[in-house]
Amino acid sequence: MKTGDFSFSGLGHSYLPDKWIFRNYQSQVSRGQILALLGPNGCGKTTLLKILLGALAQTEGSVSVNGHVAFVPQLFQVAFDYSALDMVLMGRAKKVGLFSQPTSADEEMALKALERVGLASLANRPFHEMSGGQRQLVIFARALVAEADILILDEPTSALDLKNQNAILEWIDRLARRENLTVIFSTHHPHHAYAVADQALLMLGGSDYAAGQVDEVLIESNLFRLYNLPLKKVSFEFEEQAIETLVPVFRPKEDHRMA
C-alpha cells in the first residue's frame, strides 16, 4: 500500500451489544481520491469517521490507514479567541517535540498555508470572528501544515450558503487533485458528492450499504432507498459546458396543503 491509501474491511461498530450501527463495511480508496459518505441523520457517519480517525475503536473488522490523518470537525467552536495563525500553527503538533515550542520556521509554514488558501491578510483575525466558510478554509490550511496525507471532513458544507458551499467543494477538489491528498467527507447533499467525489459510500443502516464509483453508486434507485425521495439525474448545457448533476425532487403532499 502506498502512503495516502486507506482501506477497511468487515468493519462494524455497535455501542450496545448486538445493536449494530453498521456492519461488514468494506471500501478501498487510493491516494488522491475523494470518498463521500452519505446517509441520513443518526446512521453513524460521525462514528465511522471517528473510527477512521483512530479516535474510536471499532467493534469488529480491520482498518488500515496509511499516512497522517487530519480532521476537520463539523461545528467548530473555540473556547478562547485564538487568531487564525494560532489555529493553523496547531497543525504542526506532530512535528513539534512534546516539551518544545513551535519555531519561527513553523510559523512561516503556517503563514504560507494561510496564503495558499487566500487568507494571509486575515492571519491575525480572531478565529471566532471569521465567517463559517473562512473558518473551514483555516482548518484546511491547518491540514496543509500538518503535511497530512489523508483529510477527513465531517459535513464541511452544512450550515454554509451556496457560494461558500461551492468554495469549499472547490477546495476539496483542489486538495485532492493538486495537493494529491486523499479526502473523505460526509455530507447530506448527494449533488455535492456527485460534483467532486470519485467514490461514494451510502450508509443504509445495519449491514446494508452501497459502495463504489460515484457513477455506479449514486443512482436513482439507491438514493431513493436512502432518502425515500426521488432524485433525478439531469444533464444540460451551461456556458457551452455539459453539466450533469442530481436534483432532489421534494413533493409535499397535496392533501396536507389543503388541511
Partner: protein, 360 residues
C-alpha cells in the same frame, strides 16, 4: 485642564499599548522587570518600624565584602527582620502567586472553560483538609506538605470522576458543579477537624486556613520554591500543547496529541503545585481564577505568552496583597480574605462583561 491632560495621556497610553502588542515578548519582559522591582521593594516595607534606608544598608553591609556603613546604627532585631523574616515571606508570596497564576491558566486551557480555577475545582479544599489533618497531628512541614498534596490530588480526582460519570465528554457545567460539591464536602471535613481540635483551640489553624504568609520560614520557602520551579518548568514546556488541548479531545487527537497522558500529567502537576501552596500559605482563593483572565486581556489567548504572563501577574498580585497586609492594613488581615474580597467582584464584573459567552 483635565481634558488637556487626557488629550495627552490617552494617545500615549494607546501608543504604549500598541508598542507592547506588536512585540509579542514585550509584555512578559516588562512584567518580569516589574516583578524584580516589586520583590526588592517588598524588602523595605513591613510592620516592624525602621527607617526606610535601613534594610538597604543592612543588606549591602552583609553582601558587600567590605563594611558599607562605618558605624552601624542598627540592632540585632532589625538584622533579624531583614535577613530572617522578610526574605522567606516574600519568597513564599512570590512563588505562591506564580503557582496560582500558572495552575489557573493550565486548568482553564485544559478544560476549555474560563471558569475553572484551583478553588472551584476542589483542589484547594482537598489540600486544606490534608493540611488541617497534618496540623492536628502536629506533623512537621514536610508532613503537612505530603498530606496536603494527597488531599489536593484526591479531591481533584473526585471532581474529575464525578464530572466524568455525569457529563461524559462535556467539560462545562458538570465540572464546575462537581468541583463545588467536592469542595463543600472537604470544607465540611475541615470543619470537623477544627471541632475535634476542641472548639477554638487552633486559632493558628484557622488563621492558616484563611490564607496567610505570616510565619513563613526557610523550610516553607524552599519547599514551595522547589515544587513551583519544577512544576513551572514542566508547565512552561507544555504550554503550547495547552493550545491544542483547548481545541477539544477529538480535534487534539486528530492533530496527533496523546490527550489522555497529557491531561493526566497536567492534572498531577497542577494538583501538587496548588497543594504545596496551600500547605505553606493556606487557601488564597480566586487568584487562580482571575489572573488568567487579566493575562488574557493583556496578551491574548495564546498559551505560549499567556503562561509566563499569568505567572508574573499572579506573583505581582499576591506579593502586592501581602505587602498591603504587612503595612497599610492593621494587624495582618489574612491574604485569602483580601483576595476573596477583590476576586469575587472582579469575576462578577467579567461575568457581566462576557455575558456568559463561552462560560459554559
Amino acid at each position: 485642564m483635565i481634558e488637556a491632560y487626557f488629550k495627552n495621556i490617552v494617545p500615549l497610553f494607546h501608543r504604549t499599548q500598541r508598542f507592547l502588542d506588536q512585540r509579542s515578548w514585550a509584555w512578559p519582559w516588562l512584567l518580569a522587570l516589574v516583578v524584580v522591582v516589586a520583590v526588592m521593594g517588598s524588602m523595605f516595607v513591613g510592620a516592624y518600624p525602621m527607617p526606610l534606608r535601613r534594610p538597604l544598608d543592612i543588606l549591602l553591609d552583609i553582601i558587600l565584602p567590605f563594611s558599607w556603613v562605618d558605624s552601624p546604627a542598627w540592632d540585632l532585631r532589625e538584622i533579624t527582620v531583614v535577613t530572617l523574616i522578610r526574605p522567606p515571606r516574600i519568597m513564599v508570596a512570590v512563588f505562591a502567586g506564580i503557582t496560582l497564576g500558572m495552575s489557573g491558566t493550565a486548568l482553564q486551557g485544559m478544560y476549555r472553560n474560563p471558569l475553572v480555577g484551583p478553588d472551584l475545582i476542589g483542589v484547594s479544599s482537598g489540600a486544606a483538609f490534608g493540611g488541617a489533618l497534618a496540623y492536628k497531628l502536629a506533623l512537621p512541614t514536610l508532613g503537612i506538605v505530603t498530606l496536603a498534596s494527597i488531599g489536593g490530588v484526591g479531591a481533584m480526582l473526585c471532581t474529575l470522576f464525578l464530572a466524568r460519570i455525569v457529563g461524559g465528554k462535556s467539560d462545562g457545567l458538570p465540572l464546575i458543579l462537581a468541583g463545588f460539591f467536592v469542595g463543600a464536602f472537604f470544607m465540611a471535613c475541615v470543619g470537623l477537624i477544627l471541632h475535634i481540635g476542641g472548639g477554638y483551640a487552633g486559632p493558628n489553624l484557622v488563621y492558616w486556613l484563611l490564607g496567610t504568609f505570616r510565619g513563613a520560614d526557610p523550610t516553607k520557602a524552599w519547599t514551595i520554591i522547589l515544587t513551583t520551579t519544577a512544576g513551572g518548568i514542566l508547565l512552561m514546556a507544555l504550554r503550547w500543547r495547552l493550545n491544542l488541548l483547548s481545541l477539544g479531545d477529538l480535534d487534539a487527537k486528530s492533530l496527533g496529541l496523546d490527550v489522555g497522558t497529557l491531561r493526566w500529567i497536567l492534572i498531577l502537576v497542577v494538583s501538587i503545585m496548588v497543594a504545596v501552596q496551600v500547605a505553606v500559605s493556606g487557601v488564597v482563593g480566586w487568584v487562580g481564577l482571575i489572573i488568567p483572565h487579566c493575562a488574557r486581556m493583556l496578551v491574548g489567548p495564546d498559551h505560549r505568552r499567556l503562561m509566563p504572563v499569568s505567572a508574573l501577574l499572579g506573583c505581582l498580585l499576591v506579593l502586592g496583597l501581602d505587602n498591603l497586609t504587612r503595612t497599610v492594613i492593621w494587624s495582618e488581615i489574612p491574604v485569602g480574605v483580601l483576595s476573596g474580597f477583590l476576586g469575587t467582584p472582579f469575576i462578577c464584573f467579567l461575568f457581566w462583561k462576557c455575558r456568559s459567552r463561552g462560560w459554559s
